[in-house]
Symmetry: C2
Subunit: 352 residues, 2 copies
């Protein structure tokens, strides 16, 4: 076994979910992640805790959905609920055999299933939970890398000093929380937003691994100016690149995209909240130095900021409502972040 | 997917466990059996029931046991208990990546874990449960076959007319239950046992798939005569072959083996019950025509009988107590089964 798999498991059990004696840990993983489940079981044993591993794969789900009618999709999985209720910790592992397995399944079926399982979602969130991924050929392919290269990429982002990064991010959040606004400056960009009454939070690997961002929801009507997102990203399998947005009183009044402009227009026109920003955040994971069109990594990339159109974040006191939450990432190598009269970041460096 | 995997799943859901609407089905399987789990999910959906798949592998278990101390091994898996309590049906699939994964793990650890989980065993038995296997390279290797040949072998035993076999076996059990004794005659064999007060039962794929046997526990002190078991078998990884036993008043008074006689002696000397027969049975699966040193198949083989030294079967009113239950199989191509004055079977044919 690649020794990094074991280190990954150590971080999940010791840092992300902080398992202690006699706790019940549920692991949810596809067969492709078996190796990480093996490593996790050993770490859980060291804590004198107990594991229950669920096998969830898109192939199994597809087989079920293909045969399921509305009556079937309304059946509530009481055995899964019971297991979840009795668990203290849930570790969920992404490692698809293929990212296209659910292609062609009617979205109504997936939506109906999700509706039936809605109480499970809240139950899940009431636990100590952390989502992670295990490098596998399908994810490597999606990132346009060989599996070996992708493994290096993933473990560079995961096997870092989380305690140190957490302290750095907390310090940054504290500074940002002292101010009532933020100003992003850079190539094609000068965007101002108020953050009074909002909270800057840190994501330090307790819910997502890898992670590393400091984020808030801006005051919805306060966003003014223009911003250019240079990092390409995928939306429902389609690429969007080079997005430029113009804001007035919080609303997108004009937009452009070098690629996928039609898709962008559809997203902006979704509902009343989809032309407003629900999130502004700073990427802080120095182990991520290139984008892979996987938002889980890209939005955490060092020397970037990201903004999300649509739904605001309740934990930051965000109030914007929308079916959309579309993250878009911008490099800040040549940029500046200013809060109040303080320059927080300039051209690759956090200023103290 | 091999269409036989889907047929196997149909039999498990329709015949073995007879899943109906709104039922909770738990599947326990290693990653090697993923394909069968995929097929089962589809069949369960057709019933408007719900599945929960657990990933259990010897590799995960080994990793846990290696790191577990006595305190860890005493932790009761409450999440697993909860899931089991809420389930109506449990389907357990054997498909090891290797049959040697647990080699070298101290048996005390395995025993301590089993002791902690004992209440789960009873809970499991209180459900509708069926164990099966999915053909995989490790099992094919154990059977000295290529994977393709092994698949043919397994599906020949599983994809049969269970309803028809069940009727045939019930008819045989009914005939045997009308008599008070049984007499086995064949090469090196003339064994007589009383069966008064005992019940002949059928195993027709409701708890084991494949299956196919009619069995009872003889009156312990009544077994007289000699018997020769020509089919070789494995006991804790060691081969035993050509066993000959001589009985007086139910007790083995002499024994021989062409191979593994020392091992046989150790088994016979285990405890007070290990020199008595706990089971006599007739193999009835006509899809199994050769032995593979896997008792799950061998004891069901057509034109065979098998006897077990040691523990009797409660459901047949067997009373012999022992830590041992050692099945041994004998070909009956040239033999006869007589009950009372009725010849039940002669040289490959059940007589009506």
């Amino acid at each position: 076994m690649d020794p990094r798999v074991k280190k990954h498991a150590e971080i999940m059990v010791n840092w992300s979910t902080a398992v202690v004696e006699d706790e019940m840990v549920m692991i949810v993983a596809p067969p492709t992640a078996h190796e990480l489940v093996v490593a996790l079981a050993g770490e859980i044993a060291k804590k004198s805790a107990s594991y229950l591993a669920l096998m969830e794969s898109d192939e199994v789900l597809r087989s079920y959905l293909e045969q399921a009618d509305d009556r079937t999709l309304a059946v509530f999985p009481r055995h899964y609920e019971s297991a979840l209720e009795s668990s203290d910790v849930v570790i969920w592992i992404l490692a698809p055999a293929s990212v296209s397995t659910l292609a062609g399944i009617p979205p109504e079926k997936i939506a109906l299933r999700a509706k039936t399982r809605e109480p499970l979602f809240d139950l899940h969130l009431s636990k100590r939970w952390c989502d992670t991924l295990h490098p596998c050929p399908a994810l490597a392919q999606q990132a346009d890398m060989s599996l070996e290269e992708y493994r290096d990429f993933v473990y560079n982002a995961i096997l870092i000093d989380w305690s140190g990064l957490s302290e750095d991010m907390s310090a940054l959040a504290k500074r940002l929380n002292r101010h009532g606004d933020i100003h992003l400056v850079g190539h094609g960009t000068s965007l101002h937003a108020e953050t009074k009454g909002r909270v800057w939070m840190v994501e330090d690997g307790k819910h997502n691994m890898p992670s590393g961002e400091v984020y808030t929801s801006p005051v919805e009507n306060s966003v003014e100016g223009e911003i250019y997102f240079d990092i390409p990203f995928l939306y429902q399998g389609r690429i969007i690149e080079g997005v430029k947005l113009w804001f007035e009183k919080g609303l997108v009044v004009d937009f452009e995209a070098e690629r996928g402009e039609g898709t962008l227009k559809d997203i902006l026109d979704t509902d009343a909240g989809s032309r407003r920003l629900g999130e502004i955040a700073v990427g802080m994971n120095r182990g991520i130095s290139r984008y892979t069109r996987n938002m889980l990594f890209d939005e955490k990339m060092r020397d970037t900021i990201h903004c999300a159109l649509g739904r605001g974040l309740a934990e930051c006191n965000g109030t914007n409502e929308s079916a959309v939450h579309l993250d878009m990432v911008k490099s800040m190598h040549d940029g500046e972040i200013v809060a109040g009269r303080e320059t927080i970041y300039r051209a690759g460096k956090l200023l103290r």
